[in-house]
Point group: D2
Chain length 257, copies 4
Amino acid sequence: MLFEQMRQKPFFILGPCVMENQELLYTVAEKVAEVGQKYNVPVIFKSSFDKANRTSIHSYRGPGIGKGMEMLQNVKEKFGLPVITDIHEPFQAAIAAEVVDVLQIPAFLCRQTDLLVAAAETGKIVNVKKAQFLSGADMFYPAQKVLEAGNTKVVLTERGNMYGYNNLAVDFRNIYDMKAFGHPVCMDCTHSVQRPGGAGGKTGGDRTFVPMMALAAKAFGADGYFIETHPDPDNALSDGPNMLKLHDLDALIASLV
Amino acid sequence: MLFEQMRQKPFFILGPCVMENQELLYTVAEKVAEVGQKYNVPVIFKSSFDKANRTSIHSYRGPGIGKGMEMLQNVKEKFGLPVITDIHEPFQAAIAAEVVDVLQIPAFLCRQTDLLVAAAETGKIVNVKKAQFLSGADMFYPAQKVLEAGNTKVVLTERGNMYGYNNLAVDFRNIYDMKAFGHPVCMDCTHSVQRPGGAGGKTGGDRTFVPMMALAAKAFGADGYFIETHPDPDNALSDGPNMLKLHDLDALIASLV
Amino acid sequence: MLFEQMRQKPFFILGPCVMENQELLYTVAEKVAEVGQKYNVPVIFKSSFDKANRTSIHSYRGPGIGKGMEMLQNVKEKFGLPVITDIHEPFQAAIAAEVVDVLQIPAFLCRQTDLLVAAAETGKIVNVKKAQFLSGADMFYPAQKVLEAGNTKVVLTERGNMYGYNNLAVDFRNIYDMKAFGHPVCMDCTHSVQRPGGAGGKTGGDRTFVPMMALAAKAFGADGYFIETHPDPDNALSDGPNMLKLHDLDALIASLV
Amino acid sequence: MLFEQMRQKPFFILGPCVMENQELLYTVAEKVAEVGQKYNVPVIFKSSFDKANRTSIHSYRGPGIGKGMEMLQNVKEKFGLPVITDIHEPFQAAIAAEVVDVLQIPAFLCRQTDLLVAAAETGKIVNVKKAQFLSGADMFYPAQKVLEAGNTKVVLTERGNMYGYNNLAVDFRNIYDMKAFGHPVCMDCTHSVQRPGGAGGKTGGDRTFVPMMALAAKAFGADGYFIETHPDPDNALSDGPNMLKLHDLDALIASLV
């Protein structure tokens, strides 16, 4: 039913990058629930229990899957929101599926057959992020792996392509090309403005571009929007430079519906 | 001791892409042992037990880790060769380490912290392939994850960067830049000539360029060479278009030592 | 005064790629004048007298500067439209300036100092197209060459960057970055959807994307839009695949004002 | 006859980037003549009379075509060397051809039909540099423009492709691909190590890579080498960071013949 809603109205995947603590999740989820009702659009609460590929081994990774699923379950119960999280190894699919409505496959891992199949077999909606090294047309194959594992609830998410070293560019034609496969296509408006980390040992970005990315994606036919948001992104534990300020969320959604 | 040899002489990681059957491994290993002795250089036998990220879900993946490690053990015993294989999930590190001398981290997975740490903790040499989306300078961080897990036996392998869609280009300056970290740097001469799969549902390539890639890497200071080779690559079950014919291996090594 | 109008309202540079014949110019100019009045926006009629860098030497190039300027003058008189054309050598600047209101510097030539200075010295508005090999930030320097030649009427036009071979991607962040210099920024909605020619000996494209490119550029703050249009683009003598059908022009402008 | 020599032996195009003064040309030409005799290879003296596309309008451009041709003529007479220079506008072809043996078409301009035809019509050897935005295969068309203008003495020169912003990468497969057209293929070992200028207002580079680029090009089948060299590159008026020290020229040539 959520999947049908995602086909009918612009949908929004919203939340802080990583589960810093339960309180943060509540703060953001309250706003997410509010905008969902205000604009009468499907909203899905997103947060990661583990940042498994940080540039540096010293960066904060998250609470782990056990504690993390508890925290998401609390959000679900308190606010009645559907939830999504990303998984990194096949064994995590079934565990996360006990709580989440959507399983997300990270971009770097979108060709890992076992991960896609494990996610598909839970029967949950599977949101596959397009790798930074693939075209929209190339995403036929990851989607096909989910379908052939018996799950037709596939969402594909654009998040930009590598453009030289330590930079991403979004080729919006990929949104149009992915829509040709018939699955809902989502625009990741926050990771697409990253400057992937290099010499500095962490990944930068520029949240100025987030609303522009969203509107441009709309022009190319995006069905939904993935936006990481945080009440105080400059002090967030992950992806601060590219997360939207929670305070700016309402206005951005107003511009997209 | 193998690691010291790899620091002193040009080394060669050689073998068929995937473990098609035991007989194939013996055929190739015999030649690998022969060239190692003939040119008095370190040679390491390579083959994969699982191709975990094939473009299509229908492609051949390999015998799996259990059967695969048996097959590698047989090669080791019969020809006295050190062996290497690639792993895709952290739990595989310890299992593979019972047989192999070198664990290889696939390019797409080179930022997955848990996989790097699990490999490092086996105490085996860890060969980290540079992702198609990273610069040579960016590889400081994956290497650092192995070091901080207590293992100093790191090898870094160049294999080209995405250049537009469905194409790779090798920026050889990355070899020079990675050498600055002090780890041996290897050139993957066969995957760097791939044309990553797209519309056609599989990955192409052009083995014509393999010897040229190797010599160019030598010019930029490569310490070793990774070359997939097969007696009949046009009928191989994976990576046929880019594997070197086994018959051409001896001449290529002669040009590099 | 035209330049002031271009600063105050969305402007449109419109016309067929190359001056095929006077009749074609009249047909398109009539529609251009019509939409300009209907939407009360500045419109500038564009057509080239010479396609100086066609892929093949056998392609149609145009009527040349003498005949071409006559044809533009006729358009100007008949429809009261300001006109723009592109020049390729410094000596052409003064000749074209006798007729045109805006001189355009082709993307490949945007670093040729003498061409920029010759254009600047005419006192006309100078529209510098961003090269396919430059960033938005890099365009500071070509603009500066015009300014230092004593002309402050500079327009900068985005038209995409090379993305691998025979493909362009538009990094819309460049529009935002160029706006920081204070000059009006224009989006070339038709050349940005080209597939620059290679093996086939001519350049392809896909006009499907033209309206999407325009709307995305608007999201990133574009001040104006460059759109090549033709009553029958499939039979045009240049750039057919990427030109907009004249019939679709009105609706596109309606979506942008 | 020079063209036949260039087909039979590795040839070298050598000299300072820009004609700073006559004395500099003599200093470099003396060394160029010396290495040509020592290694018995064709050498061609190169220097530019005008740097027509410097990043900034304030950069030194050179003595101009009149004075420049005089300076080249002096080199020719004093050292008996064939000479090459680059032209930027069609009218310069005939003027330069009174002195030079080879006319060079700059990379940015390699699709300008009139420039190619004007160069071809002089009957001199035409060295077309591959644009930073073209593949090796794409160079069929610029070469064809020279051929169809009646001149079969074409040389094609690789100099790297744009890789993201402000960076070049050399895809050496292009050398192999261009050789398929049957024309001699030259490697520009000094411009290929540039970091094209951006924020800093000038172009950087790293001459460390020059000898590596040359050897790698040799591995891919290059017929000749273009190497800018200067007795004191750190104080040169153009392209200092990427020029080879004149003192290192002999050793580099020794490694290539």
